[in-house]
């Protein structure tokens, strides 16, 4: 499984991760083109928090025991067995917000335009998640983890 972690002591709160994430998910790698004149941000999965001198880039950490999957009313939130990531089936999501309510990191939000949930999808279409490529201070790192067996064995 590949996921992005943040070294918060290196994060300078510049917000480039969020901007490039949104641009990439809006279908264009050039933020100036894809974000031009939009009134609300397009679907992206990152929130950048700044608090005094501290800042952090927050996204879904694809929890092993993901509360959002258990809470999802429609079966839209699922674990992708190939990548190990927690993903959203946009056709099934109705935007009720139950996943948002149970996410300990506030990493799932409702997209204003589509009315359905959005969060980090791990950029499975890319060699490297877009945010990691965009971070100027090496605060974002990817963690590659060998797949863990999901089948439990009786005690």
């Amino acid at each position: 499984m590949r996921r992005v972690l943040v070294k918060d002591d290196l994060c300078i709160g510049c917000g480039l991760c969020r901007v490039f994430c949104e641009a990439h998910h809006a279908g264009n790698d050039d933020p100036l083109k894809s974000l031009k004149r939009r009134l609300s941000p397009p679907a992206g999965g990152i929130r950048v928090e700044c608090n005094g001198i501290r800042s952090i880039s927050v996204r879904c950490r694809h929890c092993e025991d993901a509360p959002c999957i258990q809470a999802c009313l429609t079966g839209a939130m699922y674990r992708d067995y190939d990548s190990g990531l927690v993903l959203i089936d946009a056709d099934r999501c109705v935007g009720c917000g139950t996943c948002t309510l149970v996410c300990p990191f506030g990493a799932i939000r409702k997209d204003e335009q589509t009315g359905i949930a959005v969060k980090c999808d791990g950029c499975l279409d890319r060699d490297m998640p877009r945010c990691v490529n965009a971070c100027p201070n090496d605060a974002l790192v990817i963690e590659l983890k060998a797949a863990v067996s999901t089948i439990a064995t009786p005690a």
Binding site: N51, S55, G97, T100, L101, N133, A134, P136, V141, I142
Partner: protein
């Protein structure tokens, strides 16, 4: 008589979750799921979408149709369990068949309350808890102009919202002084009522329907309802949404119960071999520190998984749940959890309001016990998590309702190791291997 290692009564949130969990532990023990509905497991909260967006059952099904066969389970649709014999460990079915079980899970959910109102059996009166209900409502809709929804809880609002999409006139009649009175506080209710009215539906609160009338003596169809102040509302359809109650009839006399079936933290009833989960049982409400019936979807799924693990011989305890809900009706995002109506003698309350939103957090002795949020709900999960962990937030509680509230508002100990790579993981290869981490790297820069 067939014998099964596991028999599950109910094929919905709780029953299906238990069956899946059993199969991750025991791939071969005989497993039978009984359901008196005709359909494969589907998302019950989605039934309104059949009315509003003509979504069919296929779009609501929780698992692919091959699931049962592929997972070596038998699923008998349209089959009702009518009696449990104990200690024989058998269950009798409506068609006279009988099956023997080693462990039995009662995931029978809840049934809609049908209030004793005159005329309640008339044609055009519907309950709203199954896909079948949604189908019969949709079938009748072409001949309907006005609908009265009795009950302004989330099931009533869900029906009303869907009916407004079909542009029929809707009036919600709520006996309490406000809608969603068990889910949100007064201010939350006010905001929702505004949204309901803005959609063109009407809300009448503090009134009861006393009779459901038909104007033509020879016809059994609905044509109006009468309220307790003698107001008459014309309507061709009535939807009963006054609440649900645990469907305990099968368990009567076999397992102890109060409001619902009593279970321990492993979802075992007091009768060996019989388990229960979901809407039909009482579980731990972690916000109120009491046992209660918690008729919400996530509680059924999580409790079902615990029941399944216990039944398959790998017991783990249930952390409990609480009253929690997120509803997107009438274009308004509303979430709530735990205690929403505070008692000034017991609770501390923090609030923030602006033109689009409203947030309230309820604390008891420095620990969060409840929350309501209307509008921007994106960070309410952080609050919910603190509530679940019973974290003492007394020293920094004012942060909880600030506009810039987030992970950084929390003490490091509550989030740091979850979001950041630990130094050890970066430096120590053996530790990395032990953690299954192959590589930790930053990419080439591109802007």
């Amino acid at each position: 008589m067939n014998t099964y290692e596991y028999v599950i009564v109910g094929n919905s949130a709780g029953g299906l979750s238990a069956a899946r969990e059993i199969r991750t532990i025991d791939q071969s023990g005989g497993l039978l799921i009984l359901s008196d509905e005709q359909y494969p497991a589907y998302s019950r909260p989605l039934i309104a979408k059949h009315i509003s967006h003509t979504k069919t059952i296929e779009a609501m099904e929780l698992v692919p149709r091959e699931f049962y066969v592929d997972s070596h389970m038998e699923w008998w649709p349209g089959t009702r369990a009518v009696r449990i014999d104990y200690p024989e460990r058998t269950v009798l079915l409506h068609d006279g068949r009988c099956v023997h079980w080693n462990s039995l899970l009662l995931a029978t959910g809840s049934s809609p309350i049908v209030p004793p109102i005159e005329g309640v059996t008339r044609q055009g009166v519907h309950t709203f808890t199954t896909y079948c209900d949604a189908e019969s409502i949709t079938r009748q809709l072409p001949s309907v102009r006005h609908v009265v929804v009795i009950g302004g809880g989330f099931i009533g609002l869900s029906a009303a919202d869907a009916l407004r999409h079909r542009e029929v006139d809707v009036t919600i009649v709520e006996m309490q002084s406000r809608v969603l009175s068990t889910m949100v506080d007064e201010e939350g209710s006010t905001r929702i009522e505004e949204a309901v009215r803005a959609s063109g539906a009407d809300v009448i609160t503090g009134r009861r329907v006393v009779s459901i009338n038909g104007d033509h003596p020879e016809s059994s169809s609905v044509s109006s309802v009468t309220l307790d102040d003698r107001t008459r509302l014309q309507c061709e359809m009535v939807i009963l949404a006054v609440g649900v109650r645990p469907r305990t009839e099968l368990a009567e006399g076999v397992v102890p119960m109060k409001q619902g079936i009593l279970v321990d933290e492993f979802m075992r009833t007091a009768t060996p071999g019989i388990y229960a989960c979901g809407d039909v049982c009482q579980t731990r409400d972690f916000a109120r520190d009491a046992d209660a019936v918690l008729p919400v979807w996530p509680n059924a799924v999580a409790g079902g998984a615990v029941a399944g693990a216990t039944m398959a011989g790998m017991p783990r305890s249930y952390e409990g749940s609480t009253t929690m809900n997120a509803v997107p009706y009438f274009g308004l995002s509303v979430v709530s959890a735990g205690v929403v109506e505070h008692d000034p003698a017991l609770h501390d309350v923090l609030t923030r309001r602006d033109s689009t939103g409203y947030t309230k957090v309820v604390l008891k002795e420095g620990v969060i016990v409840g929350m309501v949020s209307v509008g921007d709900t994106s960070r309410c999960g952080i609050v919910y998590h603190l509530m679940k962990r019973k974290a003492n937030v007394d020293n920094w509680k004012d942060m909880l309702v600030r506009e810039d509230f987030g992970i950084l508002s929390l003490p490091d100990s509550l989030w740091r190791d979850q979001l950041t790579p630990l130094d050890g993981r970066l430096r120590d290869e053996t530790d990395n291997v032990a953690n299954g981490i192959v590589n930790l790297t930053t990419g080439a820069k591109r802007w």
